[in-house]
């Protein structure tokens, strides 16, 4: 292979990395909202992503055949719809389970409630995985999308020797993910509710003095976090086949992204997820497939070693 071909490979995988990275970024934003506001490490985040994927899959299988629902863009609508649906699910999970070990109830528990939170979210992950296996089965599924087979061509560049293909399905998914992140970040920055969530994150005690119902703020933050990650799942559902255990693969990526970007900030989480996507795809072009995650975690460890506050981390929390 000559140099030009190397460059073509690199650009090709870099483009693919941006497209997947934006969706990882979206999922990382979901995780970081929960951590930022509630200070809870949610191990079940990957499973909520999985639920977003299955929501999109089942709704598509159920409605996809009917006229009006058979458009090329219907899977994207469903993925976006997974957001509000999983927001509701997250709300209920907080009300029924998490509330007992977080917020004001946490101070009464050993270790400030952190042990209980870890066990609870880990247990929730197991229940959702196995419940998913029982309900959805272990067969690999995916949302069929004709757009996955079409690409835009960039180029030819450099004496007609370089052409980059941009997958249409992934591009639309990435644009939607970016839009969701921007709208959400703006909402958190500007809206009254966003400000009260940030206040509850900054100082829950003072937030109570302001008349903010911190428990409600946590419930909303958990709903947002779960819903946003579920949208990411829905957008990935036509990318590659999945099964109920897929969450475990992604939760690691999400945590690496969030920590790499800088804990608790929306911008940091998004950029962290984006970096991971790019690293993953670019390393795939010159490393064997099995070593992709090794590359991610080598860079992750280097970041922790050299810049513990994260690549884009501020000293203070934003989410």
């Amino acid at each position: 292979m000559d140099v030009v071909q190397y460059i073509e490979n690199f650009l090709q995988s870099f483009a693919a990395g941006i497209l997947t990275g934006v969706i990882y970024g979206l999922m990382c934003v979901g995780l970081t909202v929960i951590f930022g506001v509630m200070r809870v490490i949610n191990f079940a985040q990957g499973e909520f992503m999985m639920l977003g994927m299955y929501f999109t899959y089942f709704m598509f299988s159920w409605l996809g055949g009917y006229p009006f629902f058979d458009g090329l863009y219907f899977p994207f609508v469903l993925a976006l719809l997974a957001g509000p649906v999983l927001f509701g699910v997250g709300n209920l999970v907080h009300r029924g389970l998490l509330q007992k070990v977080t917020g004001q109830n946490a101070s009464r528990l050993e270790g400030g409630g952190h042990y209980a939170q870890l066990v609870l979210t880990f247990g929730l992950a197991l229940v959702l995985q196995n419940g998913g296996l029982w309900l959805f089965g272990s067969t690999l599924v995916s949302v069929p999308s004709e757009l996955s087979y079409s690409a835009w061509e960039m180029g030819p560049l450099y004496q007609d020797r370089i052409i980059i293909f941009i997958n249409q399905n992934q591009s639309i998914a990435a644009l939607l993910a970016l839009a969701v992140v921007l709208v959400f970040a703006r909402y958190m920055a500007r809206s009254r509710l966003g400000k009260s969530l940030r206040a509850a994150a900054d100082n829950p005690e003072a937030a109570v003095y302001m008349g903010i119902d911190v428990s409600r703020a946590h419930r909303i933050a958990f709903g947002f976090g779960v819903g946003i990650t579920a949208i990411g799942g829905g957008l990935l559902a036509s990318n590659a086949p999945f099964q109920p255990y897929i969450g475990t693969d992604y939760v690691i990526i999400m945590y690496a992204g969030v920590v790499m970007g800088g804990l608790g900030s929306i911008r940091g989480a998004f950029l962290g997820g984006l970096s991971i996507g790019i690293l993953q795809q670019v390393s795939a072009s010159f490393l064997p497939n099995q070593l992709q995650n090794t590359m991610i975690f080598t860079c992750f460890l280097l970041t922790i070693l050299l810049r513990p506050q994260g690549l884009f981390g501020l000293r203070e929390r934003v989410a």
């Binding site: 009254r192 009260s196 900054d202 100082n203 005690e205 003072a206 109570v208 008349g211 903010i212 203070e316």
Partner: protein, 235 residues
Amino acid sequence: MLKLTNLYACYGAVDVLKDVSIEVNEGEFVAIVGPNGAGKTTLFKAISGLVTPSRGNVYFAEHNLLKVSPHQRAHLGIAHVPEGRQVFPSLTILENLALGASTASGQRDWNDNLEKIFSWFPVLKIRQHQRAGSLSGGEQQMLAIGRGIAASPRLLLLDEPSMGLSPLIADEISERLVEIHRSSKLSVLLVEQRVAEALHYANRGYVLETGRVVLSGSQASLQQDDRIRQVYLGM
């Protein structure tokens, strides 16, 4: 307006408040003084609901506060300016003030209140778009007080507004507090370790030691009390 009767509170097995009865009437400026660890902050947290008393009652106007959830108490008209200021560091000054104005009355009076807050503490106006975390200690205290006033409260709870500040800044803030009290007619309950100053500004005072009210009375009677003069005023 605020009435605590025979209040007890404990952390684990340790009683922090023992049989405390305190009253604040409409428009009064009342000071609670006493040494470190006397239970002053716990007393405030019991009023705001972050500490649940083991016995006794807390009334605010016609409400039995123990039946009101903590965050609702702000909406009844209690503004708590906490110990150590506790502003929201990642939010701007204006956003901090807006959060103070979460109550219905705060929303209604937002423009008037903002004008007043900025006239009392001009530095907040100049820095209104900066993050609160970038302010100095004195400025953060001003913001914390402003945030309390932005709620248009009926009762302002001030927990050691002079803590960690230079005497000069502390004096400036005290003077502002007196001005605020005089011009807005709201009731003020102040906790202070600077006993001389606190008794100078307040209409009435209570002395809290190891969780008990050991002395109470009008400004004049406390300032003339021999024990107070010896122990707290160094005379």
